[in-house]
Amino acid sequence: MGNNEETELVEKAKSGEMWAFEKLIRRTSGKIYNLGLKLLRNKEDASDLMQETYIKAYQHLNSFRGNSAFATWLYRIATNLALMKMRRDKQQKVSVETLKETSSYSMIKEMPDWTHNPVSYFKKQEMKDILNKAIDSLPSKYKSVFVLHDMEGFPIAEVADMLSLSEPAVKTRSHRSRMYLREKLAEYFNQGVKAQSGQG
């Protein structure tokens, strides 16, 4: 959607033209729904998050000043709503201490570089489950940084803005999350290599 077209639709929606807001919903819903899937990991919760996000966006439409893209503003609302939901969730998370340890350079174990193994060598669904389970076990503030920065591709500065964090804080959380997930994948790959070579 072009910037001018988006600004026009937002202005029309602000003045009460429902069709314009509906058009904005149809154009941005894919992004918000998929963000919900990544953060909350099920379709029902992603749908509910999408609905809450648009209702909140509608209620606060007049506070949208157009300093960022409309979709970015929606991402911010959706992420904060998802964070509230995740905090209520009692699921066991990996401790911040473990994340700190995994990411400390002196603690990095010498591990084989598994990146030369073709993905087809491993069971894709199994790998997906392991990776997503590891992502889900990250504390919510780490998970949201990983999803927004590494999976959705937002720059550090935008993620910091969306989550009301400093840029160094986002970088630290991003680094720790990456190192933890890398280690979880390495465990999986190493087991696979052992099994293939008859050692496991």
């Binding site: 509906e22 990095i108 890398r182």
Partner: protein, 68 residues
């Protein structure tokens, strides 16, 4: 990886990666971890009934607001 380094520091790091197997492996595995996380979670289409439900909810609220 995030394209946030100054050119000078980036080329110093590149030189280091050529001689340090540990760091090279760290970089490769980290990049691949991110790549897998993206690949394994491809975008899904929003069910049209979900979009309709959201639009309906907003309509109801709009109408209420206008009646007030």
């Amino acid at each position: 990886m995030d394209n946030e380094l100054e050119d000078e520091l980036r080329s110093l790091m590149r030189e280091h990666f050529l001689v340090c197997r540990k760091c090279m492996s760290l970089l490769n595995t980290m990049e691949k971890t991110i790549c897998f996380s993206r690949e394994m979670n491809k975008a899904e289409k929003v069910p049209s009934k979900v979009i309709s439900r959201v639009c309906y909810e907003i309509h109801v609220r709009y109408e209420k607001k206008e009646k007030k």
